[in-house]
């Protein structure tokens, strides 16, 4: 979701001989089918995105209808209908339906915060690493300041003055996650800019912009993607701790993080309350990470033979 055109174009230029004639999409499709785990991950994510788009529309009422006298219904009991297959929550609402409905807010907050911090952090990091002027001094200090500014204080300030709306939560979480991308991108650029191929491009008169985007960014990207996928889980859980303190998204809105933290007291008596939404967070993170690992191989001209040959040997 965060990988835009530069890496793609970089990779397509280096298509390996075996599949040179196949259209790009078909080729990636084949590489995805070749990696079964990545395929499962991709399907899972696609389902989650569908849930996020359609869930609230289709299941909104089912997920909010309470039944105080039928609370904490245990999972795997179909007598109350399919929606209760994962059990009921502390207000007797079906967990499955709630997880599906909550996927919209959750994915919006997580994707928004991760994408924003990724783009801004990476951009600043590239500039800080490549520039040898004032920017290389000022930007890292900015990262220091953000790292030292407690995210909770930022949340209290923003949300005390504004509403606890989804957009503001994204803003708070995005700001606090900028430094890790910034510092990682910068550190890698510091090293890469000294490498031979960059020096060569310089000699040949390439513009700084072109060197950074065409030569340096593709090398930095895999590490940043690894961090970004795991940040998904971090952001989802950080959002829930803000809610827990009364500062983040609040009921009747739902997110997986909020469900996890509301189920916390029941951990030893009704584990399913926080287990399923927690599992949703884990599976989403896992899928993203597996997919990004696949992507790293698929995009790397030196490694994508692994996927291509496996396909041809399968066939």
């Amino acid at each position: 979701m965060t990988h835009e055109s530069p890496p793609n174009t970089a990779a397509t230029r280096n298509v390996s001989a075996s599949a040179e004639d196949a259209p790009m999409l078909v080729r990636y499709g084949r590489m995805l089918v070749a990696d079964k785990t990545a395929l499962v991950a991709a399907v899972f994510l696609a389902v989650m995105i569908l849930c996020a788009i359609l869930g609230p529309m289709l299941l909104g009422d089912l997920a909010t209808r309470q039944n105080l006298r039928g609370r904490n219904a245990p999972p795997f009991d179909l007598s109350r209908g399919w929606a209760f297959v994962l059990g009921g929550d502390q207000l007797g609402r079906p967990l499955l339906a709630r997880i599906i409905v909550a996927s919209r807010n959750t994915l919006m907050v997580a994707a928004g915060a991760v994408a924003a911090s990724f783009v801004v952090g990476t951009g600043l990091g590239l500039v800080a690493g490549y520039s040898r002027g004032r920017m290389s001094q000022i930007i890292p200090r900015l990262a220091d300041v953000i790292m030292s500014f407690p995210s909770l204080l930022l949340a209290v300030i923003v949300l005390f003055m504004l509403e606890p709306a989804v957009g503001n939560i994204i803003l708070v979480l995005a700001i606090t996650r900028i430094p890790v991308y910034l510092r990682t991108a910068r550190a890698e650029v510091l090293e890469i800019r000294e490498r031979m191929f960059v020096q060569a491009a310089l000699v040949m008169g390439a513009s700084s912009r072109r060197i950074v985007l065409r030569h340096i960014l593709p090398v930095v990207l895999p590490t940043l993607l690894t961090i970004a996928t795991l940040d998904f889980a971090f952001v989802m859980l950080a959002e829930s701790s803000l809610s827990f303190l009364g500062i983040g998204i609040q009921p009747p809105e739902i997110t997986w993080g909020l469900m996890v933290s509301q189920g916390r007291p029941y951990l030893t008596s009704a584990w399913w309350l926080s287990f399923w939404p927690g599992l949703a967070i884990i599976l989403t993170t896992l899928s993203l990470n597996l997919l990004s690992n696949w992507l790293r191989v698929a995009l790397d001209p030196q490694q994508n033979w692994r996927l291509e040959t496996r396909r041809s040997s399968d066939a």
Binding site: S148, P179, I227, L267, T285
Partner: protein, 304 residues
């Protein structure tokens, strides 16, 4: 090198000043603490008196000037909550946090670097799959799950470890283990990723072609090159811990700076918020300086 450190110190001092000014004014936008410290039924007279005694009714610029003046005499204000010097309160908590963060990061680094390298050396192999799977689950699972389940199993169930608190070395085992999991997962993934890149690079291939044994390849050639992002991400994780490991502190009753910070923010205890941010900021600035020096050590071509 000396020049670099000197220049960096000046820049960091300016950042710190900026941070203090920002926090001072921004935190006061979050409301008047008076109501939080008095019973709901307190009369207007008592409220006015509270503001008067704590200097809250002065114009904000005057409050700031006063704060600067006190700071020049190394007085960082008094905690509204405990009526103790704010800096002493913070340092008291920070020493716990510092030890907890250091101990945990040492374990994390050793374990993640070794396992991550081994996983990268045989991509798709059994070790890689197992390590990746568990590290990812660990890194994305809610930390209080792990904490509570660990207490239920190891303290209540087996009776091997104390549930919480401080006092003996045994008390440190559960908090460190729980705190270990997320950074371990993340750093293992970063090590693995960078190692795969490094192992694919030309010079490692050359070394392999020459018949150098696998282990030296990993630990001398590739690792050194792959450490740049690893060191950076370690820094980010350590910074997170220096800001306080809130869940671990809350559940295990560890008197660290994370819970202090949260309570102070929720209670608008401005002096403590400021002192805590200053202490953690200095720690984070120093750490980032060390990391930048480490880059230059790892790769002599890096210049600032």
């Amino acid at each position: 090198m000396g020049h670099f450190i000197a220049r960096r110190t000046v820049a960091s001092a300016i950042s710190l000043a900026f941070l203090v000014i920002a926090v001072f004014f921004l935190s006061r936008l979050t409301g008047d603490p008076t109501d939080l410290y008095l019973p709901l039924d307190a009369s207007q007279e008592v409220r006015d008196n509270f503001r008067e005694l704590n200097g809250l009714n002065e114009p904000i610029l005057l409050q700031f000037a006063g704060y600067l003046g006190d700071m020049a005499r190394l007085d960082f204000g008094t905690s509204l909550r405990s009526a103790e010097p704010a800096l002493a309160v913070v340092l008291q908590a920070f020493q716990w946090t510092l030890v907890l963060a250091l101990v945990t990061m040492v374990f994390v680094t050793v374990a993640a670097v070794i396992l991550g390298s081994l996983a990268a050396f045989n991509v798709g192999g059994p070790l890689d799959r197992v390590a990746t799977f568990f590290s990812l689950i660990g890194a994305s699972a809610p930390d209080f799950w792990i904490a509570i389940v660990a207490i239920v199993i190891f303290s209540v169930g087996f009776g091997w470890l104390p549930t919480s608190g401080t006092g003996s070395i045994w008390h440190w085992i559960l908090p460190v283990s729980v705190l270990f999991i997320r950074p371990f997962g993340l750093i293992l993934q970063v090590v693995r990723g960078s190692m795969i890149n490094a192992l694919g690079s030309a010079y490692v291939k050359t070394a392999r072609a020459k018949g150098v044994a696998p282990r030296p390849i990993i630990f001398t050639h590739a690792l050194r090159n792959a450490m740049l992002p690893v060191v950076t991400v370690m820094g980010d994780q350590a910074a997170g811990m220096l800001n306080g490991a809130v869940v671990v502190e809350t559940i295990f009753g560890f008197p660290g700076v994370g819970k202090l910070m949260i309570d102070s923010i929720l209670q608008r205890d401005f002096a403590v918020i400021l002192a805590a941010i200053m202490v953690t900021a200095v720690a984070i600035f120093v750490m980032n300086l060390l990391i930048d020096l480490a880059y230059a050590l790892l790769d002599p071509r890096i210049r600032y």
